[in-house]
Symmetry: C2
Subunit: 279 residues, 2 copies
């Protein structure tokens, strides 16, 4: 029974074939991952039930996680919640990204110029992950937190990043030809996605009138590093119907492109290199 079947464990991952998973580690990390915005605290039996792991084992894993300052008891309850130690990991990752040194002031400028919420994402496999944001001052500010993941193929932020991949890389990333749909505009297949990306690549940006969330528009452009690789993407979001089309294709798009260009420049991107690669 204790035998590990890495394939069956997590169907969303496309890792290279894993030979051996350390059960104690995997289970401990699984515990950490079941805590989220919606389920801030849980007790041991609930966790044991959810993960289908014996109570006595959960007990020891919880002790270990508590010892490592990753979870802590909620006072006066039998519940556990994430502890401050969990912060460390995430922020060391952020700190390891060169772009985080430059993103905040540029996002602020972009948000001020457009009056909209602005975001920077990176791609992690088939997801985009928010790594920096500036909420708009007045309007409904965007609800995404840093660390939030969205499916890359369903967002313009993801598309400008996926557009940087070759068709072969794309097929490898999406072994199933079917894609999950989130709106009428979501490409339903990898082939369809590939066509859309072709256009995004030519444009150098992508604009969506549906985005991942209904009623939200998004204008996105890729950020490139010194090797001309698209390493991140930047966007602004707005409520559909509240912004003139001429503004979208005018000032807003220009502002996003300018911000992307400025961030790219800070990462030592230069047009020359890009042209040389293309030509």
């Amino acid at each position: 029974m204790g035998e590990v079947d890495p394939v069956a464990i997590n169907t969303l991952n496309h890792e290279p074939d894993i030979k051996y998973i350390v059960p104690g580690l995997k289970r401990g990390l699984d515990i950490l991952k079941i805590f989220n915005r919606k389920r801030v605290q849980m007790n041991a039996p609930e966790i044991a039930n959810e993960l289908q792991v014996p109570r006595s084992t959960i007990f020891r894993l919880l002790q270990t996680l508590e010892y490592m300052d990753l979870i802590e008891k909620v006072p006066n309850t039998s519940n556990y919640k994430l502890a401050a130690g969990a912060l460390g990991l995430g922020f060391e990752f952020l700190a390891s990204l060169e772009i985080t040194d430059f993103a905040d002031p540029i996002l602020e400028k972009l948000s001020n110029k457009t009056g909209l919420s602005a975001h920077v994402v990176i791609r992690d496999k088939t997801d985009v992950v928010f790594i920096a944001k500036k909420s708009a001052k007045l309007t409904f500010s965007s609800s995404v937190n840093i660390g939030t993941r969205l499916p890359a193929h369903g967002t313009v932020l993801g598309r400008v990043l996926l557009a940087d991949l070759s068709k072969a890389e794309l097929k490898k990333l999406y072994p199933e030809s079917e894609l999950v749909s989130f709106s009428k505009q979501t490409p339903e297949s990898v082939d369809k996605l590939s066509q859309v990306l072709e256009l995004d690549r030519v444009n150098g940006y992508a604009i969506s009138e549906a985005y991942f969330e209904h009623g939200i528009g998004s204008i996105a452009a890729a950020i490139r590093d010194g090797s001309s690789k698209a390493v991140a993407a930047i966007n602004v979001t707005y409520q559909l119907g509240t912004v003139e089309k001429s503004l979208i294709n005018g000032l807003l798009l220009e502002s996003v492109l300018a911000a992307a260009a400025e961030l790219s420049r800070q990462l030592n991107y230069s047009d020359q290199k890009a042209l040389r690669n293309v030509g």
Copy 2:
């Protein structure tokens, strides 16, 4: 500017006696924790050597961590670095804190009003941990990142939080009567600390001319929740010698106190409750 070395700072854990630690989990987490700003990437033998764990074990732990999207190979090297999955944990923790919903706009207002960098921290045992910040626009902006830890007893941010503890709680938190010193102003013993905290408690704020980093001044106040407990602290920092003393004790202090009061109000703190508790 003197950068903070979070690794060297936090040496002390005061966990309850732990009966049993799951080795696979502890070691896997140890691997994650050796990645930081200074050491962004490492290879397997280096990790094995650092943690004094056999190569074959490290090999499997690394495989597991990679499978869980917490680390990834650095392209064209044998090194590993933190992966985007690490972000999730930290931000779910942040999202679980009620205060993060309100901190950003208040920090922005405080920073704009004072022209200084502003920060919010929580306390985790004997450390303060930065959970939100707004860097000043013009001056040398502060180098602390979210997730950074500083020893509570050596900062005014920490002191306004420690001031909320009873003497018994303080002694329990610092079983050794000696305290690590970071500047001439650092209290060298728990008794000395206790005296300083008494004053901080009466004042309702704390001002430092040495702070943790040399040459940096700091004005801090506690943020309280509906139960009048000091759950966080807010401050502004400035370079010593660049700000008039009258300004520090005037506008700057007022602004910090106002920001702390506003945040406390958002957490349902009311003066009545506080007075009732005291009297």
